[in-house]
């Protein structure tokens, strides 16, 4: 069964359609990047994949099961969502934040078991957070905060990891670090990863597949080389765009061209 299979999904807010008849698939061990202009529906689509938004029509299948029919707990055992880091406003410690992810397995009332503790320990190590475990999340840097939220999703032991703009507000070094972590999780643990992202060059470098959202639909989907052509990007972004080759990596390099 494919981890995520969206079929003819139409998504709307207050009766206004944001995306119409979108279909896409995400496979194990693969990173799919959702790109497009502001308001193109990247976050909306991610919310639908996370079962937080019910499609007006069409279905999102999670391992072949209709996501709308999963309970919140069942969904949380299969899908880990890393929200935008601006949501972390309460000074909980990193360990307390990460432990919240275990509720998907243990429920909200029962105490954590030794196995829960072991999972938390493993994930803290994997995300390089052991030294920060007692720190309040509000005191962390952007990159550390993002890592803590990824760790929270990972202790859910999901098959699918959804990252909502994980590189927003991060400096270059952290942007790379976060996406390298996502890549490692996809390759080593076979996670299906979906990431909404603005930076096309990061998408080109880290994602195996890219879905370009524009005009209320998936304008193009495929490998970065297939999607990131001058013609498609110029159409999607309404501005002239030049595509060359990246000097270091075997990937397209996207540059907005000056007008006139």
């Amino acid at each position: 069964m494919v981890p995520i299979n969206a079929q003819n999904v139409t998504l709307a807010y207050n009766g206004r359609a944001v995306l119409e008849n979108v279909s896409l698939e995400v496979r194990e061990g693969q990173i799919l990047a959702l790109v497009g202009v502001n308001g193109a529906g990247k976050t909306t689509l991610l919310r639908a994949l996370a079962r937080l938004l019910t499609p007006r029509s069409g279905t999102v299948l999670i391992h072949g099961r209709d996501a709308a029919r999963l309970s919140a707990r069942e969904a949380a055992r299969q899908i880990g969502l890393t929200p935008q880091q601006s949501g972390a406003m309460w000074p909980l410690t990193v360990e307390e934040v990460v432990a919240l992810g275990r509720a998907a397995h243990r429920g909200w009332l029962l105490p954590l078991t030794a196995r829960d503790r072991a999972v938390i320990e493993r994930v803290l190590e994997q995300t390089d957070l052991l030294a920060l475990r007692e720190r309040a999340i509000t005191t962390l840097s952007g990159g550390e905060k993002q890592r803590a939220l990824i760790a929270r999703a990972l202790v859910q032991e999901p098959a699918i990891l959804l990252l909502d703009e994980p590189t927003a507000n991060l400096d270059l070094r952290y942007q790379d670090m976060i996406l390298a972590l996502a890549q490692r999780l996809a390759m080593e643990q076979g996670l299906a990863v979906v990431v909404s992202i603005h930076d096309l060059n990061l998408a080109a470098r880290y994602a195996q597949r890219v879905a370009l959202l524009a005009e209320k639909q998936v304008l193009a989907i495929g490998s970065p080389d297939e999607v990131f052509t001058e013609e498609t990007l110029t159409r999607a972004y309404g501005a002239p765009i030049v595509v060359t080759r990246h000097p270091l990596y075997d990937a397209p390099l996207i540059t907005p061209a000056a007008r006139g």
Partner: protein, 331 residues
């Protein structure tokens, strides 16, 4: 290490609470030495014990002190819960209109000579919280400004309704007025018997939901993605917090800012996790109201000041300071 420190602080606060409660049994129009208080409590049959002292401790002061304690607990734990629910550390039951709603409900019950004052307070409080929630919630999190504006507007509306009720129901004016000012004067065992079980159940329910409260501080969607059934959890939390608020308000009127001060101090002392913050808030809330009532009885004795005025004198400047400091949630 952190946990040991939190536990030590909780025990320390518990000790302070016990001491201040004993003090409050000894203070008042007639001062009773602490040794007499102790004897009255634990050896009431001792023939050496002054009968008047025993009567004052048992019939007048003990119920009042215990009531002050549970009211503080109720306001503090519901403050903790509202703050997580609204994702805003300014969400005191008084600020968001929960107390005002309870006051209107209770005033209606008193002026209409309807006996179920607590039930009426609960209904009023629940409606007020629901209204503020709906009005203030624009987008995922409730901004401080929206919350305070919605709370202020609703509180104005509710207090106008209370004034009108008092205007037309003039016979009960004094009773309602004394009650609204927030005071424990004349409160005794029957008030305690109604308020204590409701508040303790509310506090225990909220404490048991410490982890959902932690999750909700990230916002509702984020909590849902963690596997939280938002509808049920939010309903249970609002119900428990509102029962605790309404029982406190029905027993002693509007005592503001305890639900703001206690959770804030608790977060500073034992951290933001609700598993620790809620018990610490409860103890600090109890301590605050017991101390405020001690002051209310002794500052201008034999005159009794309204407790609500004292907590507001302490709490309102603190509220302004928090607002001015401007943290991430204030945007």
């Amino acid at each position: 290490m952190f946990r040991h420190r939190a536990l030590a602080l909780i025990l320390l606060t518990l000790g302070l609470l016990l001491i201040s409660s004993l003090l409050s049994l000894s203070l008042g129009a007639v001062a009773i030495p602490l040794s007499e208080v102790w004897k009255a409590l634990f050896q009431p049959q001792d023939p050496a014990l002054n009968r008047v002292s025993r009567a004052i401790v048992w019939d007048l002061r003990l119920a009042r002190t215990l009531l002050a304690l549970v009211i503080g607990v109720g306001l503090a734990v519901s403050g903790s819960a509202y703050q997580a629910l609204f994702r805003n550390p300014l969400a005191d039951p008084y600020i968001i209109g929960a107390s005002g709603g309870a006051a209107l409900g209770a005033t209606m019950a008193i002026t209409l000579e309807f006996s179920a004052v607590t039930a009426a307070a609960f209904t009023g409080s629940l409606l007020a919280v629901a209204a503020v929630y709906l009005i203030a919630q624009a987008g995922g999190h409730v901004s401080a400004v929206n919350l305070i504006l919605a709370g202020a507007a609703l509180s104005a509306l509710l207090s106008a309704a209370v004034s009108l009720l008092m205007f037309f129901g003039d016979e009960d004016l004094i009773e309602v007025f004394a009650w609204l000012m927030g005071g424990l004067s004349g409160r005794s065992w029957p008030h305690l018997r109604t308020a204590a079980p409701l508040i303790l159940v509310g506090a225990l329910v909220l404490w048991s939901m410490a982890r959902p409260l932690d999750a909700l501080t990230f916002g509702e969607e984020s909590a849902q993605a963690l596997g939280l059934n938002l509808f049920w959890i939010r309903s249970a939390l609002v119900t428990a917090a509102t029962i605790a608020t309404a029982a406190a308000v029905a027993a002693a009127g509007v005592i503001g800012f305890v639900g703001l001060l206690a959770p804030h101090m608790a977060r500073r002392l034992v951290g933001a996790s609700h598993a620790w913050q809620i018990p610490m808030s409860a103890l600090l809330g109890g301590l605050l109201v017991v101390l405020a009532d001690d002051l209310a009885r002794t500052l201008l004795a034999p005159l009794e000041l309204p407790v609500g005025a004292l907590t507001a004198l302490l709490g309102a400047p603190f509220f302004l300071w928090l607002l001015k400091r401007g943290e991430p949630w204030s945007q």
